[in-house]
Chain length 420, copies 2
């Protein structure tokens, strides 16, 4: 589609290393002067879609103004045609040769805001939150720590293993993360104790957000799946490893995860990610027919996690990895979820699972990076970290590299505050 | 409180075996003539609270009319004072000696509807759905089937084990349950297959619904817990045992549960249940201080599950059990959930876990009643059942027995339709 053309330029200045060139145009929700609305990011600016709609600049894209809302949900539930029309219209409006908004100072003042003047909010009201476990490197690493002779469970290569998370504690980037308290038991202790988690960790993930819903009892094929997916975000599935270890048998992770899950505020559309589709790893044994996927199912997304402690002047990149190596892809995850007939809603968030690569510097959690605390991270401040301490701030970054531009996700950050 | 007085009588006729005498007054959401509103059940009638508020009959209980809404959430989020005031006012309005509504035919026509003329809807918008595993009999039964030498996991007596479920597939009683498809693997098969579940089961549970929310990072003590809980419902956590068995290691139940969870439409308030509090079983070893609970933490609620196949003229009671034997109680479950600082929202649903007794006819699932299919249920139609077949209908019932009256929950039913 024309909106992805590498040669497009906007009359709004976009720096070469910006995550938000005209080829991206991600959607988010911001507040400004006490009002909340839907916006699109371009360079270091936000297009106020509520005002743009009122001004007649994009009023033919949807039947009513769904952009002066507190979440993207109303817009998302319209479906793919409306998502595409809106991105196309915003793209046209921002092109360097389009004078309509460019040369109208009064309208520009209303419709174009500085990102530094707005506060980003949760982009969606989260109905369901699911977390997968779809990196074979991560699953094998974790499995080998706990079951050295049997790291991958028998089901792992046959279905994208996942579990339901807690929707209400999915929070937007920037929300502080208060260290959770919980019940833990040391291996050599007879009884558990209750107190602040000592093994607080990150999980570097991507999340996809469904736009179009479907009712109970129907399924979704892998071929149809992307019609239901609006876009993707960075996702940090904060994890208290000590709480998780004690609680998770036999019903899975619960309070070790439910205290906070952070997502980046700008939802990058699947349309903007289209040029970055790549083939995923070969699946052997072959998966069952309903999970088979034609064409390139993966996305080439560079991912990083950075840490900054209170003694550091600048952040340090802890890990660099890539989303393209995931064993299970987005269409397969959604087809699996829907295979039992469960309903899908606009605003559901589906985490990929921790994205880990094959080398020691490409792992997506501190549990793996520091290998259960046996190889601590050395920081430029002279400090060491095995897990997160109070005051530490973690920032995830992610982007697709185009020819001379990036389609990026911005940042997903959170600072650890002491337990209450 | 006066509303629970066993001697109260209403000018609306209530049969002796009704679940909804004036001592109960549960809240629900109904639709009637294309409109949806909040109502209170009495006998076989519904009090239309939206109309009653408009008519000035209950207008001092809340600041605005939160009863012409599609869910209880707006009312619930007001808090316990408003819940109590409303039930108190409705109780006064319905007492036999109160002429205000009794003798006003025009108002009665607007405010009092026959239950047979309305359609019950989901009482709440479900934000979070959690399912516990809090019957020691059930956990021991299931554990002994899969791990004969080690039925209870080491954590079980130290915390109320639970997991997050899927909020969007919590449905109101009466919603048909389409047999889920899914991936399963026979013990003697090398590879899994995909198709309709063959081991479809019920789980007879109670669910509590939170009314008052709390933000991230704060906890709730067992002493405060009931201030956050609005009431309880019957809950059937439909389970596809074959899907569950193959998928659940290591991250817990997922698609084996997420196709449907049914709840009864009338939410019985914790205030109405107050006279039926009883002591729970002694917890040994003693639980950690934050989970200790003063006073009577359990509720004496009789529970039954009935089955009717298409060949049966009437339903058969499969099991009779009681909620009072649960090892972990509601305040402990909520205190545990909130102990890591997660947020609580109005409309969250928390399932108790399957309620099983100690005898073979008091078990809360067909997996236990028929002991993995080894002792099939004999039906009066000459049929047998080990698990549910298409066309079978299951109805849960529950009530507290007062002196000459019942505080009941109505019914929670669902009929199995063939897989699509």
């Amino acid at each position: 589609m024309e909106e992805n053309n590498a040669n497009l330029k906007s009359w709004i200045e976009v720096k070469p290393d910006s995550d938000f060139p005209i080829q991206n145009l991600p959607f988010g929700v911001f507040s400004h002067n006490g009002q909340t609305a839907v916006g699109v990011a371009i360079g270091d600016k936000v297009v106020h879609l509520g005002e743009a709609y009122e001004a007649g600049l994009i009023s033919d894209v949807t039947k009513s103004n769904v952009f002066n809302e507190k979440s993207l949900n109303a817009f998302l539930s319209l479906g793919k045609t409306e998502w595409r029309n809106t991105r196309k219209k915003v793209s046209e409006l921002l092109r360097e040769d389009n004078a309509q908004l460019r040369d109208n100072a009064e309208l520009r003042e209303k419709c174009i805001l500085a990102q530094s003047d707005v506060t980003m909010q949760m982009p969606v009201e989260v109905g369901n939150f699911v977390d997968f476990y779809s990196s074979i490197e991560h699953a094998t690493n974790i499995g080998s720590m706990f079951r050295p002779n049997n790291p991958l469970m028998p089901n792992w290569k046959h279905l994208p293993v996942g579990y339901n998370g807690r929707p209400s504690s999915v929070v937007v980037s920037g929300t502080p993360v208060v260290r959770p308290k919980g019940q833990t038991k040391a291996d050599d202790a007879e009884l558990p104790t209750f107190g602040p988690s000592k093994l607080l960790d990150i999980e570097l993930e991507m999340g996809f957000i469904t736009g179009l819903g479907k009712p109970l009892s129907e399924s979704i094929s892998t071929a149809e799946a992307l019609d239901y997916v609006f876009g993707m975000v960075l996702l940090n599935d904060w994890s208290a490893r000590d709480i998780q270890k004690w609680e998770y048998v036999p019903l899975g992770p619960f309070l070790g995860k439910s205290f906070a899950t952070s997502i980046s505020p700008w939802v990058v559309t699947m349309d903007a990610l289209e040029p970055f589709r790549v083939a995923g790893p070969k699946q052997e044994p072959a998966v069952l027919p309903h999970l088979q996927c034609e064409g390139d199912g993966n996305y080439d997304i560079h991912l990083e996690a950075h840490i900054q402690t209170e003694k550091m002047d600048a952040s340090l990149c802890m890990t660099k990895t890539n989303f393209k190596a995931m064993y299970w892809n987005v269409p397969q995850q959604l087809a699996h979820i829907a295979s039992n007939g469960t309903n899908i809603e606009a605003g559901d968030v589906y985490g990929s699972g921790t994205v880990s690569g094959t080398t020691p510097d490409s792992l997506g959690s501190m549990l793996e990076l520091c290998w259960r605390g046996t190889r601590p991270l050395k920081l430029p401040s002279g400090e060491e970290r095995k897990f997160l301490l109070d005051g530490d701030e973690v920032t995830l970054k992610g982007w697709c590299q185009g020819d001379g531009y990036r389609v990026g996700f911005g940042e997903c950050c959170g600072k650890i505050l002491p337990a209450k």
